[in-house]
């Protein structure tokens, strides 16, 4: 463990976080707002990477977990006016339950079959939101009366702190023996089982951890936006962004996923003047990375370091 604290990766991450933490002192609220959203997205992508990169489960429905957490927190606050923190915590717990539900088919079906099941889960959630419009606000969106704070700097620090803590926990988990067992069971479940590891238990744990962070981040995001809508936390397109972020940043790196998410959101904003072509350009860049640098940003950097 001591070797980790002196490793180059740790030092670079530390410098990045320290620099990022000082940003509110000299950049505008607009950039802070952008980065706040990007940081929450980073957590989505890291949680997804834990499931896909390590447990080997193609989850097309990260927004099922995110949306469940976000809407549970939002509805509790809207209907009962419970305190923000209680709502966020309950949102994350609801998401854990959702992760459990999602894990059940994953233990039975694999590959594209599981991918479709997760996609269906998102479509069901979307239908649920639209059908129970009285409760969820339907297609217009759910108004959330409370916010954590309206100070842009404070919101930014909360998001940064949350992302850093999540990154530390998820990265630590991925490098721990548990992460190795997960990786083994993702690549060859039969052999990993033959070595005496309980695959079901490990995969279930991966789903629960992934769901917890997705839900927590989703709940925090709606309290930042002040609204929850299908377009921001449930839509398949949001899930696609999460997946693209993780693949772009480098699968199986956890930290790369966060970088990918920040890149995706910031690039989308920079390309705003190009209007409707922005999504086209971002997808094209992502496709090129997938084709020519399949390891992603961090994957390429890490393999170079490993070689030297």
């Amino acid at each position: 463990m001591t070797s980790f604290f002196t490793s180059r990766l740790f030092l670079i991450s530390l410098v990045c976080v320290v620099v990022a933490a000082t940003l509110p002192l000299y950049v505008s609220g607009y950039i802070l707002g952008l980065l706040t959203v990007a940081f929450y997205f980073g957590v989505f992508a890291m949680a997804w990477d834990l499931l896909f990169g390590f447990a080997g489960e193609v989850n097309f429905g990260p927004t099922f977990l995110i949306g469940t957490g976000a809407y549970t927190a939002g509805i509790l606050n809207n209907q009962y006016g419970w305190s923000v923190y209680v709502c966020i915590l309950l949102g994350a717990l609801a998401s854990v339950v959702a992760g459990f539900v999602l894990a059940l088919p994953a233990l039975r079906v694999r590959g594209p079959y599981f991918g479709l099941t997760t996609l269906v889960a998102v479509l069901m959630l979307q239908n649920f939101v639209v059908v129970f419009a009285d409760l969820t606000g339907g297609e217009i969106g759910l108004t959330i009366p409370d916010v954590i704070t309206i100070n842009a700097g404070a919101n930014y620090w909360i998001a940064l702190g949350f992302m850093t803590a999540s990154a530390a926990i998820l990265y630590g988990l991925s490098q721990s023996p548990v992460g190795l067992v997960l990786q083994a069971s993702g690549q060859d479940p039969v052999q990993a089982g033959a070595l005496g590891f309980n695959i079901v238990k490990h995969k279930l744990a991966a789903f629960i951890v992934s769901a917890f962070f997705s839900g927590l981040s989703g709940a925090l995001l709606v309290f930042y936006f002040g609204t929850a809508s299908v377009g921001t936390v449930v839509d398949v397109a949001v899930g696609v962004n999460v997946i693209v972020s993780a693949v772009l940043g480098g699968r199986r790196t956890v930290l790369g996923a966060a970088l990918g998410a920040i890149f995706l959101i910031v690039a989308g904003e920079f390309l705003r003047p190009t209007g409707e072509l922005a999504t086209f350009i971002v997808s094209a860049v992502a496709l090129l990375v997938v084709l020519f640098f399949p390891g992603g940003f961090l994957g390429a950097a890490l393999s170079r370091e490993a070689r030297s």
Partner: protein, 291 residues
């Protein structure tokens, strides 16, 4: 009378679903590729047919042919620009190629969708139907276009069956879906078979897209739902099984129509999704799938 109306309406939409899903499942069966740009290719075909008629002022038949041609080109572009480089890449480990093809074709589909939205806006477009008017079937006024759609779908699927089972090329395709290595040992070039399959896929997706444009109309927003519906029909029927997809297409088509008529159009897709989840639990390989 409601039952008859459901029977007639459901048949057209089911036949259309079947046609759309057949190409999708054929590609999976032969080359193991799940093409997530499927919806985008269908919409591109429909929009091309629409543009040929209303921008270039071509007649309806040429427009429809133009749409199918665009889908064919798109299918080849998908194969050569996205799928083939990933399959041949040395930097991607073999067991991860599947997810890379999924991600790659997904991004490719988004690119096509955005280009369509950029050049032709997001508005829904309806291709002028080849046949117009309505006929009376036992007291049910049915647009002739419905019957035309159903007939064309059945005809094309029938032709596909003949092609696969009765011609040399078709038999090679079938053999490749059963055992790719065996086919190479018999001296057939696997790459050529893949090109043929993508060609067939492009034509099928193109016809399905143009018919969909005449039947319901399309917009760039239909890309996602179209891919999702083809995906779920194909999984329900069993990945790679063409006859399974045909059955599944009719099950989903009728389930949706019955829900729309008996309960509410707003709940249209829900029972089919529930059925899908249910089937995944009790029979994960789908109705006729082999694992």
């Amino acid at each position: 009378m409601l039952a008859l109306q459901i029977l007639i309406d459901g048949f057209a939409i089911s036949a259309l679903y079947a046609l759309g899903a057949t190409g999708f499942t054929l590609i999976f069966g032969v080359s193991g590729v799940l093409n997530l740009s499927h919806g985008a290719i269908m919409v591109a075909a429909a929009v091309a047919a629409w543009a040929a008629a209303s921008v270039l002022h071509l007649d309806i038949y040429t427009g429809a042919l133009f749409g199918v041609g665009v889908a064919l080109i798109m299918a080849f572009a998908t194969y050569f620009a996205v799928v083939k480089p990933i399959q041949n890449s040395r930097r991607i480990p073999n067991e991860e190629k599947e997810i890379f093809v999924l991600t790659g074709t997904l991004l490719w589909g988004i690119m096509i969708q955005e280009l369509i939205a950029y050049f032709f806006t997001n508005n829904a477009k309806t291709v002028l139907p080849i046949v117009e008017g309505v006929v009376d079937i036992f007291g049910n006024r049915t647009p002739r276009n419905n019957i035309f759609t159903a007939l064309v779908c059945c005809l094309v699927i029938g032709l596909l069956w003949l092609l696969v089972n009765r011609t040399r090329t078709g038999k090679a395709v079938l053999a490749a879906s059963m055992n790719p290595r065996g086919v190479t040992l018999l001296g057939l070039e696997l790459t050529q078979i893949y090109i043929v399959v993508w060609g067939i896929y492009g034509i099928l997706a193109g016809i399905a897209g143009v018919l969909l444009g005449m039947f319901l109309g399309v917009s760039s927003y239909s890309v996602g739902p179209l891919t999702a519906s083809a995906f779920s029909i194909v999984v329900l029927g069993g990945l790679g099984s063409v006859s399974g997809s045909l059955i599944a297409a009719f099950v989903v088509g009728y389930l949706e129509t019955i829900t729309a008529y008996m309960i509410s159009p707003a709940y249209r897709t829900i029972p089919a999704l529930l059925l899908l989840v249910f089937v995944m639990y009790i029979r994960p390989q789908g109705l006729l799938g082999r694992r």
